[in-house]
C-alpha cells in the first residue's frame, strides 16, 4: 500500500506525557518480539510497525483496527531500550481516534454498558440468585444508585467525553 507522508502529530506530542520519546525509536523490534498478540496474530498486529505508523502518518493510523489490538500487557513497555511508553502511546492515540469520531464496535458497546450498569459485565437476576445460592451478597443489575449517578454526572460534566447512551 502507499501513503503520503503527513507531518508528525503535534497533537499527540502535546497531549502525551511521553510521546516525544517516540522520536528515539530506532525500530529495533524489542516490542514486537515481546508482544503476546503479535505472537499469535502477527498478520493483524505489530506494535513496532504501529508505533512507526503513528510517528509517520498518525491520521491514517486513527482509523485502523490494529490500534485497538494492544492488550496493555506492558511487556514492551517494560523492555523498550529507549523507554518509549508504548502502551500509554497506544491509549493516547485511541483517544485521538475517538475524537475524530471513530468508535470501534465492541468497545463502544461495553462503554455504554458501563454507563448503564457501572460494570463491564451484565448481572441478570438469574445470575444474582446464583450468587445468593453460593452464599455471596446479591449485587443487583447495577452498582449503587449513588455510584451510577456519579458516573453519569462526571461523564456529562466532561467536555471531552464523547460516548452517550
Amino acid at each position: 500500500m502507499e501513503t503520503e507522508i503527513a507531518s508528525i502529530s503535534k497533537e499527540l506530542l502535546q497531549r502525551s506525557i511521553n510521546a516525544e520519546k517516540l522520536r528515539y525509536c530506532y525500530g529495533c523490534g524489542t516490542c514486537t518480539a515481546s508482544c503476546p498478540v503479535a505472537k499469535v496474530v502477527p498478520e493483524n498486529f505489530n506494535p513496532r510497525g504501529l508505533l512507526q505508523k503513528i510517528f509517520f502518518d498518525l491520521n491514517k493510523t486513527l482509523t485502523e483496527d490494529e490500534l485497538w489490538l494492544c492488550a496493555w500487557c506492558y511487556t514492551c513497555y517494560e523492555r523498550c531500550p529507549q523507554e518509549l511508553k508504548t502502551t500509554e502511546i497506544f491509549l493516547l492515540t485511541r483517544n485521538l481516534a475517538v475524537e475524530k469520531g471513530y468508535f470501534p464496535k465492541q468497545p463502544t458497546a461495553l462503554i455504554k454498558l458501563i454507563l448503564r450498569s457501572g460494570r463491564t459485565l451484565e448481572v441478570t437476576p438469574a445470575r444474582d440468585r446464583k450468587r445468593a445460592a453460593l452464599g455471596l451478597r446479591e449485587i443487583g443489575e447495577t452498582v449503587s444508585e449513588k455510584a451510577l449517578r456519579e458516573i453519569k454526572i462526571i461523564t456529562e460534566k466532561s467536555s471531552t467525553w464523547r460516548v452517550r447512551e
Binding site: 523490534g29 514486537t32 518480539a33 515481546s34 529507549q82 523507554e83
Partner: protein, 445 residues
Amino acid sequence: MENVGSVTVIGGGVAGIQAALELAKLGMLVYLVEEKPSIGGRIIELNCSSCQLEVPMDCSICPVIPKMVECHNHSNIRLLTKTHVTGFSGAVGNFVLSVLKQPRFVHEDRCTGCGACAEKCPVEVFDAFNMVQGKKKAIYFPVPQAFPQIPVIDKENCVHFRNGNCKKCSEVCPTHAIDFSDEDMKIGIESDAVVLATGLSLYDPAAIREYGYKRYKNVITILDLEQMTSIHGLTGGRVVRISDQKKPRRIAFIQCVGSRSRRTGNNFCSGVCCLYTAKDAALVKMLLPETEVYVFYIDLRVFGKGYQELLNKVRNDLGVKYIRGRPGGIWEDPKTKDLIISYENTLIRRAEKLRVDMVVLSPALLPHPSNQKLAEILGLEVDEDGFFKSPNPVASPCDTTLEGVFTCGYCRGPRGIAESATQASAAAARVAETIALTKSRRVKR
C-alpha cells in the same frame, strides 16, 4: 641523550602502552602508572586463538605483547604496576603527582616468573578473569601473558595473611623473591605533562533481566567467549556450552546489550561491537564449520577501514546469518538448557522464535569507573557518562579542560584498538609540542 621532559601516563592498556613508547621515543622520561599487577589492559584478557587456527587472523594480543616487552625494557620508561594516583598539584611544565604503589609481596627484580610458587600454593579461589576457567591460586599470574611476568599474592585469600602458618610459596621459590613484609609505598612524581589512558569497563548484562545472563548458563558475554576461545582457557580454546560442555550446533550473538539505550542510561554506541562480533562469529565458524551462527543487530556499524569488506566475507563466504532485530527475551528450556530467543525480523516485520545452544551478548563498554575520582583529583571535567571532556571535540580531540593533561583511548569516548593507538601517538605529539612551547615561553620571560 638526556630527557627533554618527563610525562606520567595513567593506565597501562593499549593506549597507555603506545603513548608511553611514543613519548619515550620522543626523548621523554615516562612514568607508566597501572593499577593492575600487569600492563596490557583489557586486551590481554582477549583471546589468543589465531595460533591454533590455520587461517590468517590476528589474535587480539599478538600485536601488543612486543609493545609490552618494548615498554618494559625501554630505558626511558618507569613501570609502576599496582599503583594509582592519590594526589595532584602544579601546572603544565611542573605537575606533581603523588601515587600509591600497593604491595605485590614478590620482589620484581628477583622473581624469574617460573611459577613454582603458584603450583605449590594450597589455596584455590574463583578467578574473576575467567568465568569459563573458574579457579586461580592465592599467588597467581594476573593473566596468562602477564607483564611483568611476575606473580602477585592475593592477600584476602592467602593463608599466610589469614593465620600466618603457611610459607609454601616462599619455601619453594628458588630466588627467595617472596616478601610477606612488602607494604604500601607512597611515591611523588614530577611531570611536565600527563596522559590519561584509563580505558573501559564492562556493563553487567545481568541487569537486562529478560536475557537471563547469570541465570542461564549458556548465555555468556563476548568476553567470556574470547576467554573460552583463548588457548589459555579451561577448554583450551574449544567452544562449548557451559551447561554440558557439548559442542554448540547453533550460536546467536546479540548486539547493543545495554548500549544505545535510555533505559540503561548508556545512550551511546560502544563503537566496536559490530566489528569484533563479526570477527568472533568468523572465529566460531572456523572452529566449528557446521555450526550455525546468527547475529542480531540494530544498525551495522561498518564505518572503519576494511569493516564492510570483513562483513561481506563473514556474511557471504562464511555464511553467518545477520538478522535486523533486538531480541525481546530469552527462555531457557529447563530440560535441554537450550535457549529460545523471541525476536522480530524487522526487515520482514515478523515475530519469530529461534532455538539455539548458546547466546553471546555484546555488553555496552563503559568508561572506567575510576574516571570520576581521577577527574576530582586532577580537577578535570567528565561528562554525564564519565568520559573525559575536551574543550573542543573537533579542533582539539586529545586535549582536556586542563592544559598539559591529554587523553587517549576509550576514556575520551568509545573507540577501537586502532583508533586508541593512533590517538595515543597523537597525545604524545601534543605533549611534545606543549612542552616545547612552555619551555620557549619560559625562555622568553
